[in-house]
């Protein structure tokens, strides 16, 4: 009775909803804002912050394109250019591409899964605060003229103290370890939420594809983030304590850096696209008025892509003089990995062909990404072939490739996702006319900027050059790219304008403006703090389309379900078949994540100049340990002590 309870089933009255809201809503004021553990608030914060970094990274890119529009320009000094291209890469790949997907996932996962929150709400808050703090930490270096200047990949020996004596590398190295903590704890949260918090009846073959995408990315991050954190830690030790990991004169191996870095970074680039591909797999079918073609194949291809993705990292190192046998293995896998990608491309295309497409802005972003995906995919396929890569690598061909895959398979789905889910987040629709203008401007501008870049690369223009000589065949191509870049940026800007305008004046959206099938569309827009008044049970992949499709065994139950209202609660379920097996007590708002972040920030700030600032690191350690102990202190209300639970 006190340690166990038979959960009551029922429907929700308005009084009941009001009582639940008061249990789940965030406390008001500054303290409430700092202490909030509401996954929806955290998700919005992630999305807003990531878009700010996108804008910063975009401005950095536009400045570089001004410098490169013509040969031999002197708008930027070499050092300025080097910091810009490095910071641009760091910003887009680490401070935008993953966090934006974490933001959408954070907001949507509990709603997609039929739960009241993520498995670890306070860890969720922590992952956000750590992200912001790490981003500020890294940008502090840039702001004081000590930004990273060795590319986002940071090769040694150029990153060693001998060639790079300033603080640039220390800001980057420590910042990346800092950010890695955020990524890791966030990934653990997603994995445990998937394992334990799915709605009753949501067996693993009924889970939306976006869940699979984020899950796969999270599992990968858990395995590979330590590799890059270690690489940066060893570099920081070399630079500050005189160790010899990358000291060539004492036997240090520059290729060790590359292996450790790419063993992380290659899986990372799949991690920053698979959740977005999941968004397309879930949302495109809505606008085609039918379920996704080949759900099982697409899910398996997601897992296969990530798994193969662990076995291709050497394709970033084809020119380093490794033995031919090793190169051929990695080359083979790098080409074969295109097969699961083909599954997704054909599944989406067939969903269009076997459906009735409805042209909305969201649909345009989702369907155009198929084309951009294929362009990025084939240029990747070409670089997978070793002898061809020996020509293509480190030229603008690769720059074209990476922008097609990152913008095509991350940004375009994200923008589509924004148009799709904005009504759910805010209760208002984004303006369609402005949306169409934004899409066409962005799509045309992007292709004008980056399609010719393939030719620029084939004509031999190297990467990471602050200027180039005239009469190399690159002049006109660079001018076209620069113009396209500005057009593309204005297209993205139009969506930002749309967001600001629609927040106040957008058309009111009901719970399900797109008549979509998944659980998030069964709650009001925006959702109440408790998500679901009664916890739903599902019997198919498309609960809200079930009756029309006539495919379910049994029926999903949304209006009637578990009433869990003894403080903050949700239902825990078994891993494979999702049967209820525990009533989970969820935490109230807590400032511990924020305080822990302050402690961790002090640690990293102190380690920037260890000889002078070490006391700051010690203080940070003490604060961090105290915050963790207070956080973990068993609480009766969470069912963590021997006292009976109410």
């Amino acid at each position: 009775m006190t340690f166990e309870r038979v959960p009551v089933t029922g429907t929700a009255s308005p009084d009941f909803r009001e009582r639940l809201a008061r249990i789940w809503e965030t406390r008001p004021g500054l303290l409430g804002w700092i202490s909030s553990v509401d996954h929806k608030e955290i998700g919005i914060r992630y999305i807003v912050t990531a878009f700010i970094f996108l804008a910063l990274g975009g401005i950095e890119a536009l400045i570089m394109r001004l410098q490169l529009a013509r040969p031999n320009q002197t708008l930027l000094t070499p050092e300025q250019y080097d910091q810009l291209f490095s910071t641009h890469g760091m910003t887009m790949i680490f401070l935008y591409a993953m966090p934006i997907l974490s933001g959408f996932s954070n907001y949507l996962w509990p709603l997609l899964l039929g739960a009241r929150d993520m498995a670890f709400p306070r860890v969720n808050a922590l992952s956000y605060w750590l992200y912001v703090a790490a981003g500020v930490f890294m940008y502090t270096g840039f702001a004081i003229g000590a930004g990273p200047n060795d590319g986002w990949f940071n090769y040694v020996p150029y990153a060693n103290k001998e060639y790079n004596p300033g603080l640039n590398m220390d800001f980057y190295a420590l910042g990346m370890i800092f950010l890695g903590i955020s990524t890791t704890v966030g990934a653990v949260n997603f994995v445990v939420t998937f394992l334990r918090l799915r709605a009753p009846g949501m067996s693993i073959n009924r889970v939306p594809v976006m869940i699979w995408g984020t899950l796969t990315a999270s599992a990968a991050n858990i395995l590979v983030v330590p590799s890059v954190s270690l690489a940066f830690f060893l570099l920081w030790l070399d630079r500050n304590f005189g160790t010899h990991f990358f000291d060539v004169s004492k036997g240090g191996q520059p290729l060790l850096w590359q292996h450790l870095f790419w063993m992380f970074a290659h899986p990372w680039v799949y991690a920053i696209v698979l959740p977005a591909m999941g968004m397309v797999s879930d949302a495109l079918p809505v606008f085609c008025r039918r379920p996704l073609v080949g759900y099982t194949a697409v899910v398996l291809s997601t897992l296969a892509t990530m798994t193969l993705g662990f076995g291709v990292w050497v394709h970033h190192m084809f020119a380093t003089g490794l033995p031919t046998l090793a190169l051929s293995f990695f080359s083979g896998v790098s080409i074969i990995i295109a097969i699961p990608s083909a599954v997704a491309v054909f599944a989406w295309t067939l969903t269009i062909w076997l459906g009735r497409p409805v042209i909305t802005t969201a649909f345009l972003f989702f369907s155009s990404m198929i084309v951009l995906f294929v362009i990025g995919g084939v240029s990747g396929f070409m670089t997978g072939s070793v002898p061809v890569d020996w020509q293509l690598t480190d030229t603008y061909f690769v720059v074209a490739h990476i922008h097609y895959v990152l913008i095509g398979i991350n940004l375009f789905p994200v923008l589509g996702g924004l148009y799709f889910w904005f009504p759910k987040f805010t209760g208002r629709l984004l303006n369609e006319k402005l949306g169409m203008a934004s899409f066409w401007t962005a799509f045309i501008g992007f292709n004008v900027a980056f399609l010719p870049m393939h030719l620029t690369g084939l004509l031999g223009m190297p990467r990471r050059v602050y200027t180039y000589q005239a009469h190399m065949g690159w002049d006109t191509l660079n001018m076209i790219t620069s113009i396209g870049a500005f057009v593309f940026a204005s297209g993205v800007l139009l969506t930002f304008v749309n967001v600001l305008a629609s927040l106040r004046r957008g058309a009111i959206a009901g719970p399900n403006p797109w008549d979509a099938p998944t659980l998030e569309w069964s709650v009001p827009s925006p959702p109440p703090p408790y998500n679901f008044a009664v916890l739903p049970t599902v019997a198919s992949r498309h609960p809200l389309w079930e009756q029309r499709l006539g495919e379910a065994h049994g029926a999903s139950s949304i209006e009637q379900g578990f009433i869990l209202d003894h403080q903050r609660e949700t239902i825990g379920t078994t891993v494979l078949d999702s049967e209820p097996d525990v009533i989970l007590k969820m935490p109230f708002d807590s400032p511990a994540p924020f305080v822990l972040t302050l402690g961790v920030s002090a640690i990293f700030a102190g380690l920037l100049i260890p000889s002078h600032l070490w006391p700051l690191a010690v203080v940070g350690c003490i604060v961090a340990i105290a915050a963790i102990l207070i956080w973990l202190w068993p609480e009766p209300v969470l069912g963590q002590t021997v006292e009976p639970v109410r």
Partner: protein, 318 residues
């Protein structure tokens, strides 16, 4: 053909790779065209009439589509497998020079931001050290030993060979062969610091006899200065430049900067940054940081007469 293009190549190492590059490019472009057409056509052919909205269309599973999915993925897999096999065949062919050939061996050191070349020979007196522009004989494979000095650089002459890096702590080996005379440009393609953008090299292929003559001429030391004025000019040169540069036949013996013994036989300065003309030469020596900011060649604060003396002497080094 622009200087660094690899859409066409020359030499027995380049031809199979260029063919493979074009092959994969054609496959790639075809795939893009086909899929784009399918997507666009699908959208246009299947879309709702403009008057209708989401609510007007029933949600329906109109076929599983799995057969078509299998067909599309199957065709893709076949194309990919063909590409893998072709790749392996080309890789096997180009990974080493032909077994029965006797390559010329050049040791190339990449360092910030120029290329040192040593033509190896069993006889130490026949080892030529030069910089940035090297000649090779037509029709004979050249084995390039790549030595790292400071940070990682990448040796690349697109018309003749793909990239291989110079990595401190290890020696990499690549090879190339020109089957036609010509001047082939290369460039460093691994980010190596501020002047990564200005680290070019030139490989000049000439018929065997011309190459031998070039080699013999280059091995000769610089002639003794022909006049007292020139002796004085050489003295100024050695005083300001000899700590870093070598001119065989003079007292200048520094080894951290390019060998200048036959500077006037090169067409460019500072690893392809400037043309080798009197004006550029003077401008470079007077203010290297203005031409190539961050370069290791310092500002020497030369007076006018000192600068003239040095350039006059250098112009005798043919």
């Amino acid at each position: 053909m622009t200087p660094l293009s690899y859409l066409s190549g020359f030499g027995i190492k380049a031809y199979p790779v260029t063919a493979l590059t074009w092959g994969l490019l054609i496959i790639s472009i075809s795939v893009v065209v086909i899929i784009s057409t399918l997507v666009l056509w699908g959208v246009l052919a299947r879309r709702l009439p403009l008057e209708q909205t989401i609510g007007d269309v029933a949600v329906e599973r109109r076929g599983s589509g799995l057969g078509w999915l299998g067909l599309g993925v199957g065709i893709s897999a076949v194309l990919l497998l063909i590409s893998v096999v072709w790749t392996m065949a080309v890789l096997a062919k180009v990974s080493a020079p032909p077994a029965d050939s006797k390559p010329l061996t050049i040791e190339v050191t990449g360092q910030q931001w120029w290329w040192k070349a040593r033509y190896l020979n069993a006889d130490p007196s026949k080892i030529l050290t030069t910089a940035d522009e090297f000649h090779i004989p037509v029709g004979r494979p050249v084995r390039v030993k790549l030595v790292g000095a400071d940070v990682i650089h990448s040796f690349w002459v697109p018309a003749l060979t793909g990239k291989t890096e110079t990595i401190p702590g290890q020696t990499n080996v690549t090879w190339l062969e020109a089957d036609k005379p010509g001047r082939y440009r290369g460039q460093c393609t691994e980010y190596c610091g501020q002047q990564h953008a200005h680290m070019a090299l030139f490989v000049i292929a000439e018929p065997r006899a011309a190459f031998e003559k070039w080699l013999q001429d280059q091995l000769k030391a610089a002639p003794a200065p022909a006049s007292p004025a020139l002796v004085q000019d050489q003295h100024v040169f050695v005083q300001h430049c000899g700590e870093c540069h070598t001119v065989r036949g003079s007292m200048a013996g520094g080894s951290v900067a390019p060998d200048l013994t036959h500077l006037m036989s090169r067409t460019t300065l500072a690893a392809g940054t400037l043309p080798n003309t009197p004006g550029s030469l003077a401008g470079w020596i007077a203010d290297p940081q203005a031409q190539k900011p961050g370069t290791n060649m310092p500002d020497l604060y030369l007076s006018g007469p000192e600068l003239t003396a040095i350039t006059t002497y250098l112009e005798t080094l043919k």
